[in-house]
C-alpha cells in the first residue's frame, strides 16, 4: 500500500485539528475525504502530503515514515494540488508545467532534458492543453487553468495524486470534465488519487472509497454504497437525506439540515 496514516494527530496550534486517524490508501484506488466544514479534511490531506508536520503518529509512504524522507524523494512519488494557487504574472502554461519536473532535476541542471520535456508534453496532452502551451496561465479560463495545474502535478510523474477541492470555483461542465479526466488517469495509469470534495454526489459517483470525518476524527471508511445511508449522512453531516437511484448510480437528495445534538 502506498500511503498509510498511523494514529495521526495534527493541526495548526497546540490543539490538533485531526486526531487519531488510521487510514490506508491502496494502489490505484480513488479515495475521497468527506466531512462538514472544519471536520479536518484539508488538514488530513496536508498531513498525508507532508505539507504539515504531524503532532503525533506518522504517515508511512512506501514503508517509510515520510518525515525521514527528503522532500524531493516524496515529490517524486506524491503530487499535491492545493486548493488555492498563487500565480506569477505572465507565467506560461509550458513554464508552469515544466516546474513539475523539479524534483527529478539535479539542482545544477538549468534546462529540462529530453525525458523531462517528453513528460511535460505528455502531461499537456493528457490534460488537453497542448494548444495553450505558450499562453500565460492567468489568461486561461478557470477550467483550463485548473487543468494546467493538474498537468504540473502530472509532470511530477507521481504514483499518488492528492487534490484539495479541485472542483471549487468551476461550473458543473468543468467539474465533470476534470473528474472524468482524473478517472481516466486513475484507471489507465493506475494512479492512486486522494481528493477532498465538498460535493457528496460527485464523490459518490467517482470514488472507490469514501473516508468520512467528523470533528477531526475518522468516522468511517467504506465504499460509496456502504457509506451512503441516511443514518451515516445524518451522523456525519447533520442532514436529513433520501438516497435516490439515478442513471449515474445512487445519489443524495438533501431534505434539510438537522440540529446536531452533540454540539458543545
Amino acid at each position: 500500500m502506498p500511503v498509510e496514516a498511523r494514529q495521526l494527530d495534527g493541526g495548526y496550534g497546540s490543539r490538533p485539528v485531526v486526531e487519531g486517524v488510521n487510514l490506508s490508501i491502496q494502489t490505484g484506488e480513488w479515495l475521497s475525504l468527506l466531512g462538514a466544514n472544519g471536520s479536518g479534511k484539508s488538514t488530513l490531506l496536508r498531513l498525508l502530503s507532508r505539507i504539515l508536520k504531524p503532532q503525533g503518529g506518522a504517515v508511512i509512504l512506501d514503508g517509510q515514515d515520510i518525515q525521514t524522507q527528503s522532500p524531493t524523494t516524496i515529490a517524486r512519488k506524491l503530487a499535491l494540488l492545493p486548493q488555492q494557487q498563487t500565480l506569477p504574472d505572465g507565467l506560461t502554461v509550458y513554464q508552469l508545467v515544466s516546474l513539475g519536473r523539479s524534483p527529478h532535476q539535479p539542482w545544477w541542471q538549468w534546462e529540462l532534458d529530453e525525458a523531462g520535456r517528453s513528460k511535460v508534453n505528455e502531461a499537456l496532452e493528457w490534460t488537453e492543453i497542448t494548444h495553450y502551451r505558450d499562453r500565460p496561465v492567468s489568461n486561461l479560463s478557470g477550467g483550463a487553468r485548473q487543468r494546467a495545474f493538474l498537468a504540473l502535478a502530472l509532470a511530477q510523474d507521481p504514483k499518488i495524486l492528492m487534490l484539495d477541492e479541485p472542483t471549487t470555483f468551476l461550473d458543473l461542465h468543468y467539474q465533470l470534465q476534470l473528474l472524468e479526466l482524473l478517472q481516466r488517469l486513475n484507471r489507465q495509469q493506475n494512479l492512486s488519487i486522494v481528493t477532498v470534495l465538498h460535493d457528496i454526489n460527485l464523490a459518490v459517483r467517482y470514488s472507490d472509497r469514501l473516508a468520512l470525518l467528523r470533528q477531526g476524527r475518522l468516522w468511517g471508511v467504506g465504499t460509496p454504497s456502504e457509506m451512503l445511508t441516511p443514518e451515516t449522512l445524518g451522523a456525519v453531516f447533520d442532514i436529513d437525506t433520501k438516497i435516490l437511484s439515478t442513471p449515474v448510480g445512487p445519489q443524495i437528495c438533501a431534505l434539510g439540515a438537522i440540529a446536531p445534538d452533540d454540539d458543545p
Partner: protein, 344 residues
C-alpha cells in the same frame, strides 16, 4: 501574485518568441553597457578621445590621461557596475522570494540597519574608513534579526518577514533621524552624503575588496533561479514540489543580503535600482527567474553606471542616489501607468 482573469475583451498581446526576446534583451543590455562604459571613460571635466583612451589603457602617452583613466574613471565605472549589479540582482531575488513587486534590497531592514550604524560611526567620530564595514555589519545583523523574528516553529512566513523588515526599518530610521538632529553640522553633511548614496571618489580599494565578494554572490544568486521559480508558486505547491521553504528562503535571503550589504558598504543607500530594474527586466524577458536573475544583474549594472555618468558630467556633481531616485520614480510611475493600460 495575482490570480485575476483578464477580461475576454483584452486582445491577446502578440509577443515575440522567447528566443527573440532573449536575444533582443541581450543586445540591448550589452550594447547599452558598452556604450555607457565608453562614455564614462571618455566624458568628464576633461574629455578624452578614443585614441587617448587607448593610449592611456596601454600606459602610453600623456601621464595625466593615464592618471585620469586608471586612478579616477576606471575604478569608478567598475564600482558603479559592481554596485548596480548587486542591487539589481538582490532586488530580483527578494521580489521573487517574497512574491511581492514592492520588495527591494532594502525591504528586510538592510538600509535602516546600515544607515543607523553608519550615522553612529560618523557621530562617534571614528574614521570614515569604518563606515563601510559598520554599514555592512549593520545591514547583515538587521536582516538576521528580521529572519529570527519571522521564524515560527519550523517555517518562515513571507508576511512576517515583510512586517518585521518594515518594523525594524521605521524603528532604526527614527533613531537615525534623532542622531542626525543632535549631531553638529559638519557631521550631518558627511552622514547625509552617505545616506543618499554616492560613488564620488570610489577607487581601487573598494573595487578590489567588494568586487570578488559580489561576483561570487552573483554566481550563487543566479544558481538559485529554480528555487525562486518554485517559491513564486506559493508555499504549499512549492513544498509539494520538493522545496524546503526554510532552506530556500534562508539561502535566497542570505545571498540577497550579502549583495545589498556589500553594495551599500561601497556606495551608501542608493535607492530605486533594486526596485525598478527587476520590473523592467520582467517586461523584457518574462517571469522565468532563470532569465530574470542574470538580466537583472546586467540591468542593474547598466542603470547605475548610466545614472552615475549623468550625475558626474552635469555642471554640479550630484550624488548618484538623487539621480536614481528621480529617474527611478519616473520610470516606475510610467510602468504602473502602462500596466493599468494593459500594456504589461
Amino acid at each position: 501574485m495575482t490570480s485575476t482573469v483578464r477580461s475576454p475583451s483584452t486582445p491577446p498581446i502578440r509577443k515575440r518568441t522567447a528566443k527573440q526576446r532573449i536575444a533582443f534583451a541581450t543586445v540591448l543590455l550589452l550594447g547599452g553597457l558598452g556604450l555607457i562604459i565608453f562614455l564614462s571613460l571618455t566624458q568628464g571635466s576633461v574629455s578624452l578621445t578614443s585614441g587617448e583612451i587607448a593610449n592611456a589603457l596601454l600606459r602610453r602617452g600623456d601621464p595625466i590621461h593615464e592618471t585620469i583613466l586608471w586612478d579616477l574613471r576606471l575604478p569608478r565605472v567598475l564600482a558603479a557596475l559592481v554596485v548596480g549589479a548587486a542591487l539589481g540582482l538582490s532586488g530580483a531575488l527578494l521580489q521573487g522570494m517574497l512574491r511581492n513587486g514592492l520588495a527591494s534590497p532594502f525591504l528586510l531592514g538592510i538600509s535602516a540597519g546600515a544607515g543607523l550604524v553608519a550615522v553612529l560611526v560618523v557621530g562617534v567620530g571614528l574614521l570614515q574608513i569604518w563606515v563601510p564595514i559598520g554599514a555592512w555589519l549593520g545591514a547583515v545583523l538587521t536582516t538576521l534579526m528580521v529572519y529570527l523574528l519571522a521564524r515560527r516553529g519550523t517555517t518562515i512566513s513571507v508576511e512576517r518577514l515583510v512586517l518585521g523588515g518594515v518594523a525594524f526599518s521605521s524603528f532604526f530610521g527614527a533613531i537615525q533621524s534623532l542622531l542626525l538632529l543632535m549631531s553638529p553640522d559638519g557631521q550631518i553633511q558627511a552622514a547625509l552624503n552617505w545616506l543618499i548614496g554616492s560613488l564620488n571618489g570610489r577607487g581601487w580599494n573598494e573595487v578590489t575588496v567588494v568586487g570578488p565578494v559580489i561576483s561570487l554572490a552573483t554566481i550563487a544568486g543566479c544558481l538559485l533561479a529554480r528555487q525562486v521559480n518554485l517559491l513564486s508558486l506559493g508555499d504549499d505547491l512549492a513544498t509539494g514540489l520538493g522545496t524546503s521553504l526554510v532552506r530556500s528562503r534562508c539561502l535566497v535571503g542570505a545571498v540577497a543580503t550579502l549583495l545589498a550589504a556589500s553594495a551599500v558598504s561601497v556606495a551608501g543607500l542608493i535607492g530605486f535600482v533594486g526596485l525598478i530594474v527587476p520590473h523592467g527586466v520582467r517586461l523584457l524577458v518574462g517571469t522565468d527567474y532563470r532569465l530574470v536573475l542574470p538580466f537583472s544583474t546586467l540591468g542593474g549594472a547598466l542603470v547605475l553606471s548610466a545614472a552615475d555618468l549623468v550625475a558626474r558630467v552635469g555642471p554640479v556633481e550630484l550624488p548618484v542616489g538623487v539621480d536614481t531616485a528621480v529617474m527611478g520614480a519616473h520610470v516606475f510611475i510610467s510602468m504602473l501607468y502602462r500596466r493599468r493600460a494593459g500594456g504589461a
